[in-house]
């Protein structure tokens, strides 16, 4: 079949960017990576991109097709051709472009290193020859452990576009993988790090990371796991955690979000923005704080919150201990 691609080229020596169209004949089963290989072999040897394993394991060939980050080796071209499309192939977003489709991964690795992506055993000796992980313990981190560090999740991270220092979905998913590891003793340090200025509370929940991840890691869900543990530990120093606390509290205090408590409790300084508050009042958008909207059957949710809170305490105790099985009786 014939595949036509518009490829974004960038030459660092001349600092020139241009879009170039290539048409090549490839086999029906060809992936995007196969097409790039044919172009490089047969048409233009200077076309530059990363590749290695060709089987969605090494994470080298992340790039964008029509603005969406994909692994080139995992993207079959037949549906694209059958739809009569000529896709634009460009480098991943949120990372500096080095040449053509190759981005500088250094800022990615820097954030990765910041979360200390290795086991912290706290100097503890394993109870038997080695730390044996039970299936249930592995299951807790299995999703995050699937990450191949390709950068597809980072490419379209909306918060990182606005705050380049945001640790981002890949590094935070890796942090979640160690926070949840039964053998790890660095949980509190990791939570404190993730609770920092450019940590979990920077996430705007755009879910592009979950959508783009070629391995099903669901980085947004991993970020939420860390946020949940930070909250459970009562670490409420960050405005993001206090914002969540208002939702938690109001869901059982009145049943509805206490909008008037949200601003002063999350960020007292913002409550002093009288001009903005007056605009809201004039448009009728500021509910009366003295007469909050109340849900019916409020007793149900109050009792529910209390009951679940007790159960949450038990689960937190497990997480603090890490290891959830009796090691003493292992041989």
């Amino acid at each position: 079949m014939q595949v036509t691609l518009k490829i974004e080229r960038y030459n660092p020596e001349s600092d020139e960017s241009r879009q170039e169209t290539f048409s090549v004949d490839v086999v029906e089963e060809a992936t995007l990576l196969d097409v790039l290989d044919v172009i490089k072999d047969e048409v233009d040897g200077s076309l530059t991109y990363r590749k290695s394993c060709r089987m969605a394991v090494c994470g080298s060939c992340g790039m964008r097709m029509d603005g969406a980050a994909v692994l080139a080796c995992k993207t079959p071209m037949r549906p694209v051709v059958e739809a009569g499309e000529v896709p634009v192939i460009s480098p991943m977003g949120n990372l500096p472009v080095l040449k053509d489709l190759v981005v500088d991964m250094e800022p990615f690795w820097e954030k990765f290193r910041a979360i200390k992506p290795y086991l912290d055993d706290g100097g503890e000796e394993p109870p038997v020859k080695e730390w044996r992980v039970q299936q249930a313990e592995l299951d807790r981190v299995m999703t995050e452990a699937l990450c191949i560090q390709c950068g597809c999740c980072v490419s379209e991270c909306n918060s990182m576009e606005a705050d380049p220092d945001f640790l981002g979905p890949a590094a935070l998913a890796k942090a979640a993988r160690f926070v949840g590891d039964a053998r790890d003793r660095g949980r509190m340090k990791r939570l404190q790090m993730a609770n920092g200025a450019h940590g979990v509370w920077d996430c705007t929940r755009c879910y592009f990371c979950n959508e783009r991840c070629p391995k099903g890691v669901d980085p947004r869900d991993a970020i939420a796991k860390i946020g949940g543990e930070i909250y459970a530990e009562g670490m409420l120093s960050d405005k993001g955690a206090r914002h969540a606390q208002v939702f938690d509290f109001s869901s059982h205090a009145t049943g509805y979000l206490l909008e008037t408590a949200l601003v002063p409790y999350t960020d007292p300084m913002k409550a002093l923005d009288v001009k903005f508050a007056l605009k809201m009042v004039r448009a009728g958008k500021a509910p009366n704080p003295l007469r909050p909207h109340r849900a019916n059957k409020l007793g149900e949710v109050r009792a529910l919150s209390k009951l679940v809170k007790e159960q949450e305490k038990e689960s937190l105790a497990d997480k603090r201990t890490g290891v959830t099985v009796d090691r003493e009786n292992e041989s």
Binding site: A68, N158, K285
Partner: protein
């Protein structure tokens, strides 16, 4: 045609974004949708409770789903992206894990709340009028075509992503809003960031980051010549409307972009009045647009 829904307006439409609830009810009547009230529903917890207390979030949403079941309704209609994802995600988890459902139901029963058996679907108003019978009905009720009005669709995030939980349309090339805009006689305006985030979830905790996100769609829609933007989410609406002034100062761009709720767009085309759709409750004045729409009537 499906005509009866358990109606879940959520918090914002019940409170600060009241114009959305009012417009939805008026539009539903025109479309022949019967909206059954859920007595004693609460907040879905938004992304916040979902993150901070995932177990409690599941219970809150299971209770709402159970309440709909108690009303003998098989579908909840939502009008907010965040409520849609929250309810659908909880529904998905509860349906696929019998043990979890049993545990949650035990707690619900213990506090005397409605339990849930797994028989409810959660659908956003957008989906109900973008295709099938709802779409046909929409075309019938759109008796005052918004001819010559250019509308930029803004989807927001949690109606598209994660697609495995939402899945109504291609999350990268959605067309539902465009179809509705066209059915209302207006012209859809295309621009790249229509599927991106409005920044609302972090606008209080990280205002600078949120404004950075908000500026992009506003700037692109304005540059593309839109008369207004329309969104299916009251959080996106609040961000695009109430924070537009701050975004303008931050970007040093003179934004003047009226923001419509989906139900207001449909309502205007269905012949509902300026007052019925509560356009006066917007921070960014809608006059430039509504004068055009209501040229023949007095406001």
């Amino acid at each position: 045609m499906k005509s009866s829904y358990a109606y879940y307006p959520g918090c914002l439409a019940s409170l600060s974004q009241k114009e959305l609830d009012t417009s939805t009810r008026a539009v539903a009547e025109r479309l022949g949708f019967s909206l059954v009230e859920i007595p004693g529903f609460t907040c879905c917890g938004a992304g916040d409770v979902h993150e901070a207390r995932p177990e409690y979030y599941l219970h809150l949403n299971a209770r709402i789903l159970g309440q709909a079941e108690q009303l003998e309704q098989d579908t909840i209609m939502t009008i907010c992206n965040v409520c849609t994802l929250n309810l659908r995600q909880a529904n998905h988890k509860l349906r696929e894990d019998a043990e979890l459902l049993a545990r949650v139901n035990k707690n619900l029963a213990e506090v005397g709340a409605a339990t849930y058996s797994g028989g409810v679907e959660v659908r956003h108003l957008l989906w109900e009028i973008a295709e099938g019978d709802g779409y046909e009905k929409l075309k019938q009720v759109a008796e005052r075509p918004l001819t010559g009005v250019r509308i930029a669709p803004f989807y927001g995030c949690q109606i598209l992503r994660p697609s495995k939980l939402l899945g109504f349309e291609d999350p990268d090339r959605p067309q539902s809003l465009e179809r509705i805009i066209t059915a209302c006689g207006a012209e859809p305006v295309d621009y790249p960031s229509k599927i991106k985030c409005c920044g609302f979830p972090i606008v209080l905790a990280r205002e600078e980051v949120a404004l950075g996100e908000l500026i992009q769609p506003l700037a692109e829609a304005q540059a593309a010549g839109a008369d207004a933007m329309v969104t299916p989410c009251p959080l996106c609406h609040l961000s695009l409307d109430a924070w537009q002034g701050k975004a303008a100062r931050e970007a040093d761009i003179d934004f003047d972009m009226p923001i419509l709720h989906l139900a207001q767009l449909v309502g205007a085309a269905a012949g509902l009045s300026y007052d019925e759709l509560l356009f006066k409750r917007h921070l960014v004045r809608t006059d430039r647009l509504t004068d055009k729409i209501y040229a023949e009537t007095t406001q």
